[in-house]
Symmetry: D2
Subunit: 343 residues, 4 copies
């Protein structure tokens, strides 16, 4: 879908996400200037039609004012990149932070840029490594004017209406949400919504993981797990004699079920490739969004027991509950003379 | 997609699910005999091509042996219907329970029917009121032979391959899971998988609900909630000044995002129809599957904190934690002289 | 406190709990007949004044009817011991199960014994290895008559009024609860209350363990934990620079604080002996009561998120969430190309 | 126990806690100067031997340098009181904040006072309305010198060794923890430990409340709760026929049980006064410490699912989950045509 309003965009940061955003934009006719500390990444995109800029000075020079600069760099270097960049920009230019910054940093950065007349737009970008083809869901925060100016960019990056059936009950005909992008509010609102999106993701992932684990262990009555004198035996082993193909369950849930979702699609794929998932250790990382979501829930006095539990589950998966667990064993030893389970 | 192997099916129970299953089967060329205590429901389907049977005797008589009888009746009357029905059936007939029976009841019912040579198949059926068009995801338990015999029926009811993209990592070419139905194991295995499916559904729903609630209350710093002397004030009200359109957020999450799912589709629809959801009181029912899922996790020693929390959240939503909450207020009163928050 | 109404008791099972119960009874003048498969345990108590019985026949013969027989044997052999024993007993004899049986088994056992006129009393016994001196808290279920007959036994085993200050608001002067024993209701009620007691214990233990872990890791900002590119850095390391002596914190909490409790006493003792708890691995066992408590909460529709979470935490401590955690890592790998944290 | 080293203390804030601290200090021979905006509170303590000061100027004038000033004022006015007070103080004076301030505020306040040579000590004070007689558990943060200087004050306020049995495993003979007060570390460490103490308190309270609720509803099988077509019926009502006296259960748990604790003492008292707790609505307030504890756990990457769940439970008790619950009902309506439970 070639757009009739090409808008020039500068992209700093050509990792998987940044590079694919550029590709998706160029496909749709938007000219792109690109910069990365990794020279190969730049050359690769130059071959595909982008204009490479060897330095930030060069990068800024190659963009026509008012400039649109999209940052797609690791969270840890956003601030330093922004500081260096904004020294080169001028009034009415716009910087878009497309990473996973904390929304409070967005608020501070917008305040930092405002005296120089530079606009700041925070853009939560969901879609992972698949977004080049699927499009990315965009959650945007910032002033109305620069966001409106960037509309052709957002429209191109987003999946578009065709990606899902229309919502039957929807009567309003305005708004860009059915295209897959949304101006959520002033600065920080985009990353706030993206943060909560990731919090929801934690909870949904945990629900799926717990469910598949329950199905996998439906053979508990077959006595394959070690017996433990300290632990109650299964009262009705005859009810847990199933050996269920977990990978096929994930596959069947993809179609027609109430829990059909992209996450189920992904887990079906992972299990199709590796039914036992033996290449994983089960140490689950967490980036910042899950933490910040729980923190927001606490501040707002909103009960969020499921998202909170999913965060704690990740911490525990990495062994971070060890001292607490030792305290539990120690108490059991004290009051009951219980020896700790070993092995 | 007309099938070249029509199989006659008898359906007992013509509520929304049962009636739509019959419609979907007839569309595909399978002749159906129907029965319900509600005469209007029968007449309606008779007009659409089904054969109505006024009594169970008549119903059984109109089915050619070996018969296939699908029960789609409320959980509370499955056993009595089954008892009455099986007295009329003969060896090699098959009864399919398509409702939400507890899988342990399936095990007992299969044992009850076995001496008479009658087959029992448990079939967890997901898809809700939308299944007529979308197809239903089927999770099936029972012996191989009767399940194989029913394959054309299951194939018609299920969504079929077209409903979702192929799983990229999938290399096996056998199996029906990509069609949307799966023989999960012996009796009870179908409803076991469906039970866990619904447990996953609880957790996913809770994650979405919590997330949207956090977004809705992103205006907490605007001071609209009542002030409470017993409760800590929000330390940084300036970080919670967003008034975000929750309905539009749900809509945008439908496209390209990692949490894209049918549940998000549904909540977008509900919010499009009623942005404040004022017609709901927030008393959330639970049928048996969530409870049974947590029970299975406990029996299997599988940690399932997220699904457990989502179940507790539903109980609490119905006020069932009231006595415990009073105990908390009483303790606070005792040790701190804290007056309870009122209003 | 010598009692003026000695009652003969037979004890089967001379593990730590059983032996100490016998000692406490003999101290108070109650004659005891003892039996155990471990001959040394019997001889030890014989030296202290008990009458040893080499066989169940001998045991029963040495008790004067109507007999009082206390079972203090592992859960797994209660039923077989009971079966063998009751064949030797006669009408109006009473069997007390003092272990941690599931209350539904009590109900069945009472029904089993009733036709022969033998009474069954279930007695939840809390106090652990310290009960010889502290006394045991007793939660009793059974018919009124045999429970009343055993009152001198229960009174001796329980701690007595002196163990705690009188409850200021208590106006009723009847009842044995201030003595430390309570007839809770018909058969099963004793073990039901004990089961929930242990569920509460799980929750309280978890709260203490989590709290001490948070205090121990108050040095998180000192950068001692491994850095992980997949995990968000601590935003305000300057707020987590404390190196707090956890053992001393547990000790100070013992006096005057709102959370003062026997469990805090015990954890202070454990930490005094071993500040790092290095002898523990942190694999926390669970016997049946926590599971059954959560199950009762589910059946009763009572929200119990805290006790549920404490149970899941124990499962996770033993690595039982591993498959679920691998599923999470697998999903992260799929949508984000995230490598799993290693090491 | 009269101390041989009286130390003069000034107390600002004569609410229940502040006034009782002064009484406890005067009993032990420490001269006190008191100030409060409430003139009656001052006069009351003046009658009991304190020196009243009508203004802060007067208050400071009546204290001999180096002054010790204890603030026991609501969290909301600590900062303004401190600002006004410190303008009047001089180098080497010490301000103790005995309230429930956030430990990060302590860090900032200590930094604020340091340039003027004024010491700041944060002192978490647990003991509630009962502390006058029981003594208060003190968790202290600050520099060594001023904390050491205040030792006689802390020793008097704390319960002292007699309040609990010695910890058997304790071999170290130094340290004040067995007296009931502890210098936990530099500024903020005292309130940090107190914050976590309160977080533990949340979890313990929730465990007790859930347990008592499960016991109260052990009559679920008697069919007294409303029947609900949307909710699964209790499968085994015969197992839930107990009508247990919850108040007596709380009373019996006070003696000899593993969960014996001051919180159980308090709930026994509350239930003795009001077995149904009808005067409470069950809207449970939360002050800041529970929130901050969960936040610290998140920052430190420590799994704290139990304390987190207890916080969410309090929010839910006040109806703050309402929107989320409506979202759940809305989804159920969408996929299943489920009507919401009413009444």
């Amino acid at each position: 879908m070639a757009t009739d309003s090409p808008v020039q965009l500068g992209m700093i940061g050509l990792g998987r996400m940044g590079a694919n955003l550029v590709r998706r934009l160029m496909r749709d006719g938007h000219p792109c200037v690109v910069h990365d500390v990794n020279r190969d990444a730049m050359l690769e995109l130059e071959k595909e039609g982008a204009t490479a800029a060897a330095s930030l000075q060069d990068f800024v020079a190659k963009l026509a004012p008012p400039r649109n600069v999209w940052l797609m760099v690791p969270a840890g270097v956003v601030q330093s990149t922004l500081d260096e960049l904004t020294a080169l920009l001028q009034s009415d230019d716009t910087v878009i932070d497309g990473g996973n910054s904390y929304y409070r940093d967005d608020m501070a950065r917008a305040r930092q840029l405002a005296p120089r007349g530079i606009h700041y737009v925070d853009c939560g970008t969901s879609g992972g490594v698949w977004g080049l083809d699927r499009g990315y869901c965009l959650m945007i925060g910032g002033e109305d004017e620069p966001v409106a100016r960037l509309d052709p960019i957002f429209r191109t990056i987003a999946p578009g209406r065709g990606d899902a059936e229309p919502t039957p009950g929807r009567t309003r005909t305005d708004g860009t949400a059915p295209e897959g992008y949304l101006h959520c509010g002033p600065n920080g609102a985009g990353h706030f919504v993206k943060m909560v999106h990731n919090g929801v993701e934690y909870g949904m992932m945990a629900a799926i993981a717990e469910g598949l684990s329950i199905i996998r262990h439906a053979d508990a009555g077959l006595g394959r797990r070690e017996v433990d004198a300290e632990t109650a035996p299964l009262r009705e082993p005859e009810a847990y004699q199933y050996e269920i193909d977990v990978a096929e369950v994930a596959e069947v849930w993809r179609r027609g079920s109430v829990i059909g979702s992209w996450l189920v699609d992904l887990v079906a794929d992972a299990l199709a490739r590796s039914p036992q998932l033996d290449q994983f250790t089960g140490r689950v990382s967490d980036s910042g969004e899950g933490r910040w979501t729980v923190q927001a829930a606490i501040d707002e006095s909103v009960p969020a027991p499921v998202i909170s539990a999913s965060l704690a589950e990740r911490y525990a998966s990495r062994g971070l509950g060890e001292f607490g667990d030792k305290v539990l064993s120690a108490m059991r030893g004290e009051f009951g003379g219980h020896a700790e389970k070993t092995g």
